[in-house]
């Protein structure tokens, strides 16, 4: 057991998998010699050498194309897209090429690779470097989508992603890189498609992801203390596959669902969960399903405005308390 930062967890996770499997290779911009702009790949180049850890030109399409071509012919690449916003410059590979390969070829080819990317806000980088794009990726058939909230999940889910035989988008939250958590020693391998109940509760279910998880937990404590509301908090962790069983099970118990989403409102990931619950758990519901999201706006750079845009504990508390108590 040791305390590790989310950033160092990324390094440990990639190391663990590269040590295990020589077919795991890693490429991206400024990731090798420089160790990455978020310093989340420091030491990999020194450890695994220039053939396995490679710097690329500013060519996101070539990066993902190369990863895909290598994956379909035998390697298991990990490709970095520095900021998740840049998924838009290579979206053809994410939406049209990788996820459709197995289907279009009737299973002749598969695409076992991981795209890891710096997602999310909180660092005052403005509208083009702060987006939460988990919903861009959740909507594409054939992809798997992961977004860990803690160092231990970073390692376990990265390992699971690298070992998975499908294209997996791995959303690392930029604002979490410096956060720390306890991590057991030795190999860590988790399971995709499993949500985690981080706080058991009886009155309502709060589903959160990535940076929103700690805020949901904080809100739950305040709700219990100040409002007598005992909330169950679920970290979704994996949007695809989606652990609907855990979510539906919780709602069956609490009768109320709230989502806390960093992505902007329209078709944020919570919309899908809300629609599943409104269908399959309708008779369990004791009241409206409420989504707490970033408003449907681009993100401002100014710190006070950015803080205002993202859901935080007080907004979560205020909203849930109002909905539940009146």
């Amino acid at each position: 057991m040791a305390e590790l930062s989310y950033r160092d967890a990324v390094i440990r996770a990639i190391s663990q998998e590269m040590e295990r499997d020589n077919n795991v290779v890693f490429l991206g911009e400024d990731v090798a010699k420089a160790g990455g702009v978020f310093k989340a790949t420091v030491g990999l180049y020194e450890k695994f050498g220039p053939h396995r850890v490679r710097d690329t030109p500013i060519s996101e399409q070539a990066i993902l194309g190369a990863a895909m071509g290598a994956a379909m012919t035998g390697l298991r690449p990990i490709a970095e897209i520095m900021f998740s916003d840049f998924a838009a410059v290579c979206f053809d590979f994410i939406a049209n090429e990788m996820p459709k390969l197995s289907y279009m070829t009737n299973g002749q080819l598969t695409c076992p690779l991981v795209i890891r990317t710096g997602n999310g806000a909180g660092v005052r980088f403005g509208a083009q470097h702060s987006q939460s794009i988990e919903n861009w990726t959740m909507m594409i058939p054939g992809l798997k989508v992961v977004a860990p909230s803690s160092p231990v999940d970073v390692i376990g889910l990265m390992a699971a992603a690298v070992r998975d035989n499908n294209p997996v988008i791995f959303h690392e939250h930029k604002a979490l890189y410096s956060t720390k958590g306890e991590v057991p020693d030795g190999e860590i391998v988790d399971t995709l498609g499993t949500a985690k109940i981080l706080r058991a509760g009886t009155d309502c279910t709060i589903v959160a992801l990535a940076m929103m998880v700690s805020r949901a937990l904080e809100a739950a404590e305040i709700l219990a203390r100040d409002h007598g509301i005992n909330a169950e908090v679920i970290d979704v962790r994996s949007l695809v596959p989606l652990d609907t069983r855990t979510i539906l099970g919780s709602v069956a118990k609490t009768g109320r669902l709230f989502t806390v989403e960093e992505n902007p409102r329209l078709l944020g990931w919570g919309a899908e969960i809300a629609s599943i619950v409104a269908d399959e758990a309708f008779w369990d519901l004791d009241g409206p399903i409420v989504r707490i999201t970033t408003p449907h706006i681009p993100l401002p750079a100014a710190d006070h405005l950015e803080d205002l845009a993202l859901p935080n504990a007080s907004r979560i508390v205020e909203k849930i308390a109002r909905v539940m108590n009146g």
Binding site: M72, P77, N96, E97, Y103, N166
Partner: protein, 336 residues
């Protein structure tokens, strides 16, 4: 006498010459058959023929070795057949039947036959140039000796992915050969009206530190020789090549296109340079008898007839295929 002379300094050799002809004929026959099948309304969806461009696929088909990989486009029947893929699998896929290469799930624009090194046909312009880089990178990384060939059209040279792939392949010195089939048109627009240079690929090679290679794409020997050199260079670790092959498609862009935009006389001029016509004469120049030529043509037609019959008899795919192979486990489950 002339014949002998030619025959003696024949760098390609009888066997490969016959194979080059056989492939061109088989591609031509299969695609003409595809065209007939549209007319009988037996082919649904779209389809893009390479009539007139067969020499390129054939030249590379003979130059590439088993285990080499190829990537092509929606206009990929020729390149798929040129690697040895059975005609039935191709026509079956065009007819969207259960005997198609992908049992009708992919369709004519995505022909794939991994066992023949055909690593897919890609229908969104540009992407497969980048993907081909990855296949070549894998060979380089694992020390495998196969090379990757990537076929695309003139219009594709104006999209961003072309630029990224070419620079990337050169910087990483990848064993990949980029083959631009310049048939003078994108869909309906002449390439000359939308391109800053006369030769969309050759005139850009220098931008990637590559030699300028511009060849007659209607002469299978020229294609075979150029392909062989580029393949050898790639195999020996010499890095990528970019080859522009001048050619022309006899038919429209797709089944929907009557190709009215072509200036009068253009098609006729190119029909005189029909690669099949050129190559039939070539065989004769090398002293190959009419009987051998007839035999090749007869055998090709037999295969295509056989394939056609099999396709007409083939059922559609079972409906459970609808949700199969979305994920690598064979299923489509996105939830528990």
């Amino acid at each position: 006498m002339a014949k002998e002379k030619l025959a003696t300094n024949d760098d390609i050799g009888l066997e490969k010459r016959l194979e080059l002809y056989r492939l061109q004929i088989e591609i031509r026959d299969a695609e003409k058959r595809a065209h007939d099948l549209f007319l009988q309304n037996l082919i649904k969806g779209t389809s893009h023929l390479s009539l007139g461009q067969e020499a390129i696929a054939a030249g590379f088909g003979v130059a590439l070795k088993k285990g080499d990989k190829s990537f092509c486009t929606y206009r990929g029947h020729a390149h798929t057949l040129a690697r040895g893929t059975p005609v039935e699998g191709v026509l079956g896929e065009l007819m969207l039947r259960d005997n198609g290469l992908m049992r009708g799930k992919g369709g004519s624009m995505h022909l794939t036959s991994v066992e023949h090194g055909v690593m897919g046909s890609y229908a969104i312009i540009g992407a497969h140039l980048c993907i081909a880089c990855g296949s070549a990178w894998r060979a380089q990384y694992l020390g495998e000796k196969d090379v990757t060939a990537c076929f695309f059209g003139d219009g594709t040279t104006n999209i961003g992915a072309f630029h990224e792939a070419l620079n990337f392949a050169v910087v990483w010195r990848l064993p990949v050969i980029f083959v631009c089939e310049n048939n003078l048109y994108m869909e309906y627009t002449p390439i000359s009206e939308v391109t800053a240079v006369p030769h969309p690929a050759a005139d850009r090679a220098a931008a990637y530190g590559l030699p300028r290679i511009l060849i007659d794409g209607n002469d299978a020997d020229v294609v075979y020789r150029t392909a062989s050199e580029a393949i050898a260079k790639a195999r020996e670790g010499g890095g990528p090549s970019l080859i522009e092959c001048l050619t022309y498609r006899h038919s429209g862009h797709s089944r929907a296109d009557p190709a009215k935009y072509r200036p009068p006389g253009e098609l006729e001029k190119w029909l005189e340079r029909d690669p099949i016509k050129i190559y039939r004469q070539r065989l004769k120049d090398f002293g190959i008898g009419q009987d051998q030529i007839d035999a090749i043509e007869k055998e090709s037609m037999r295969k295509v007839d056989e394939a056609t019959a099999a396709c007409k008899a083939a059922p559609p795919a079972p409906v459970d295929l609808l949700t199969a192979d979305v994920y690598a486990d064979g299923g489509w489950a996105w939830r528990n």
